[in-house]
Symmetry: C2
Subunit: 225 residues, 2 copies
């Protein structure tokens, strides 16, 4: 750990894949930080002060200066602490990494959300189709053990939702989009990712996540009857 | 212009604010490029080959290597050609610039779109309210002549839609969100931006834009009757 790293704080909630992205990056780089657990039903003054616009977690605070949005935070962390680079060094490869990270947030996650949490059957089917299409693009991008080569880097971190959260959602709502037969490379990647020692110790307990998603699904189903 | 800039191509359509972002950046840096006008109703093989995922413009091609998504392209351009930096140099300021550029794309543009192009009156009102709220955050961020100081930089370029496209939309659909009394700083900025010599020569003809938006509004209104 760098001795002059300054004061680092992270406001988060344990179950959030976006907060975990930041935690994985901090751990990979060996940056010590103070973690502050938020209650999103009763947001702290600190959260509202530091992220008045989105009022969401993660919020990353370095020497009193706040940043929101996980991908913005990850890039700041990588530019501030250079050991264990999580972005590629060359501009073109870096641009592609940004493209794919955004693709995950802008296309894959909304499609999966539609497939999992929509009650309307037609919409749900559409969500499944969109998920499969989007995942296929990502499958085609996976050419090594991890997206950037032999080590975990930005696109893996951005995709952590697919490795760990998605299987719990699939189990809770009775859905299968990321299957080993449809997406053999992504499936294998998800196992590698979840078993990486630093990732492993920065994931939430699976049982809690599963319980949360099951309740959510029950509530949505009940409301639609 | 750098002599070793390589071959630079841009696939675009003249009326697109996202394509114009890239053109303004290229012009600020004095980069020569070949512009290829696309027809989005009959997409070229080149476009489908270079952007098979989104099938949209802009597509930026440097020495045969394609990139999509205007903000990704802008950052690549800035990292590849260092004269006239369009992103701040310090990591924190750079992160904030990324945050605000994304805020424009993720919050402001969808809110304005809802306000302008939704037929449902309630939805439209909601869109107006969301637009005003989002613009207020941006107004508060404007502390100099331009977002980054005395010169045009990334957030100005990202916000070019607000300076030039929005007034045409407002006129076409009978809406006023970015008024000089509600947002005096943003309004003044929009005038400065549109009158900047390099911006000015890289904007589409206003009449054409206005005609396009009027037809669009007429079509939407007719379809809802």
């Amino acid at each position: 750990m760098a001795k002059d790293q300054g004061e680092v704080q992270l406001l988060g909630v344990g179950g959030s894949p976006f907060v975990r992205r930041v935690q994985i990056a901090l751990k990979l780089k060996g940056i010590e930080y103070t973690y502050i657990e938020e209650n999103l039903r009763n947001k702290s003054d600190l959260l509202l002060k530091y992220n008045p616009i989105h009022k969401k977690v993660p919020v990353f605070v370095h020497n009193g200066k706040p940043l929101a949005e996980s991908l913005v935070i990850l890039e700041y962390i990588d530019e501030t602490w250079e050991n264990y680079p999580i972005f590629p060094q060359q501009p073109y490869e870096k641009a592609l990494a940004r493209f794919w990270s955004r693709f995950i947030d802008d296309k894959i996650l909304p499609a999966i959300s539609k497939a999992a949490w929509t009650v309307n059957k037609e919409e749900r089917e559409k969500g499944i189709e969109e998920s499969l299409q989007a995942l296929q693009f990502l499958e085609n991008e996976l050419k090594h053990k991890f997206f950037g080569g032999e080590n975990i880097s930005i696109v893996d971190i951005a995709a952590s939702y697919l490795a760990f959260w998605l299987p719990a959602i699939e189990e809770a709502v009775g859905l299968k989009v990321l299957s080993s037969d449809k997406f053999p490379k992504l499936y294998k990647w998800s196992q590698e990712f979840n078993n990486h020692p630093i990732v492993k110790e920065n994931l939430p307990p699976k049982d809690g996540l599963l319980g949360f998603f099951k309740s959510r699904y029950a509530a949505i189903s009940a409301a639609s009857k």
